[in-house]
Assembly symmetry: C2
Homo-oligomer: 283 residues x 2
């Protein structure tokens, strides 16, 4: 692999939720070019079986390989939890996921050995990936993971944090976590930062919320710095964000700024049949 600093960072997610990771990447490294793939035609991943999620993640990675990225960021907790090994085997560049950085950041935030809470999709929660990542660093740390299947649809419906239904659903999901009083709570899905205000209010000031988006962006910057692959640009120069989606590019384009915080240079369509072909041809 002869990787150049001028190559883009490849990012994928099951939909547009991973754009919250793009926002953090561009905030940390505004000069970088980013190619983002949102698999909106097959969203959500979090309710599907591990075999299916692994196939999708392999196809997403194969597609990004075509752009010769210097780094691949898996901006999807479900794909990380279920398929990170398949992604690493498929990618032709170093891979940064959202779970290991999130776990590290939570251990840093949750001082004095206090317990750590995790909220996530059904697939991420069932995988136990956050618990494993935390225990790899601190085997005795208490971890409580709660699956919150309704939060993704709630964010996708565009509901406000002050919506009474949002409050009601959060109260139910967070009930046991409130009693635990964790030092840190990991928002273990890229959609959840959109509800951070309401979650923070319910958990109280003794719990620090950890967004895996920010932690993953920090890790990506660290990896690129260590490999001497950060793009050398003047301070004014802005990188470009190019998005691909497997569903309607019009609909996707309307969400890029809300979630990604930046305008896209282009939003293009790529069929899931093309993703499957990319994957087949790279085998």
């Amino acid at each position: 692999m002869n990787i150049q600093a001028s190559q883009p960072i490849g990012v994928f997610d099951s939909g547009f939720g991973g754009l919250t990771v793009v926002r953090e990447l561009l905030n940390a490294m505004p000069g970088e070019d980013i190619v983002y793939l949102g698999d909106s035609a097959r969203v959500p991943y979090g309710i599907k079986s591990p075999e299916t999620i692994r196939r999708f993640a392999r196809e997403d990675t194969s597609f990004l390989n075509g752009f010769q990225p210097k780094l691949v960021v898996v901006a999807c907790n479900t794909a990380t939890a279920t398929a990170i090994d398949a992604v690493r085997r498929t990618a032709k560049a170093p891979v940064v996921d959202v779970i290991t950085p999130g776990a590290k950041a939570a251990l840093k935030a949750a001082t004095k050995g206090s317990p750590i809470g995790v909220i996530a999709t059904q697939a991420t929660a069932s995988s136990g990936a956050y618990t494993r990542a935390i225990h790899a660093i601190d085997p005795s740390r208490e971890v409580m993971t709660v699956a919150c299947p309704l939060l993704v649809p709630i964010v996708e419906e565009g509901r406000d944090e002050n919506d009474p239904i949002v409050t009601h659903v959060l109260c139910e999901y967070l009930c046991d976590l409130q009693r635990l009083r964790p030092g840190a709570l990991i928002l273990g899905c890229t959609h959840y930062p959109m509800l951070a205000g309401a979650i923070g209010k319910l958990m109280g000031p003794s719990t620090t919320l950890v967004s895996s988006a920010a932690a993953a962006a920090h890790e990506a910057q660290l990896v690129l710095t260590q490999m001497n692959l950060l793009k050398k640009t003047s301070t004014q120069a802005c990188g470009s964000l190019t998005c691909y989606t497997t569903d309607s590019p019009q609909r996707f384009a309307s969400l890029v700024e809300r979630f990604g915080g930046h305008k896209a240079k282009a939003v293009e369509y790529v069929g899931t049949d093309e993703l499957e072909n990319f994957s087949r041809n790279q085998k």
Copy 2:
């Protein structure tokens, strides 16, 4: 087309919700063989763009063509609302959808010209398909359609009808419909019959709930009778239900009886790449 009574009925849906239609089909015609395709790897359809839903529906129909069905039942309101023309062009047999029968049944139930309510997914509501189907029969009938995006995830999460969150969400969605006092309310998504008790309680006794599942099964029986294609069997003989799913067959198998009310002879996996190939080869 030389169709025989011994051929199966083909049914497809975005996931397992359409099994509520299978339940009604087998209750009405217990001797019939059914081949069911649930596209669980790409569920839900209701939040996706019309172009993508049309592509999926064409692929699903092409797959069913391989079983030479005597009738194709589109057990998915979203696919019907968005893609029924594409299905009719692709299918090699007569097609029964869930919307026209539902609209007819609602007009029958809503006596004295009373208004008709419809609850549905975002895609079905946006398409205006129920309003068009009702106005094709009675152009002056008042119709109110409300999109209820959270109801599918709520049913998929396995929440009980008496769950306070279910009540809270339904109260919000049904608020304007309660004021309208419709003579009939169409449950315009195959998941919704699972919440019929709670919906009925909120709407009160003057509103008749119309399940498109039962109406579609009735229509299917009518079409087969008219074409003299009902299977001639002894009263004891039971037809077979064979299911295909694009996600884990184990997971799907565990839902067949709950939603379909009958045991499956087999639950098999079929990849979405295979569906795409079927569709390509039949063009």
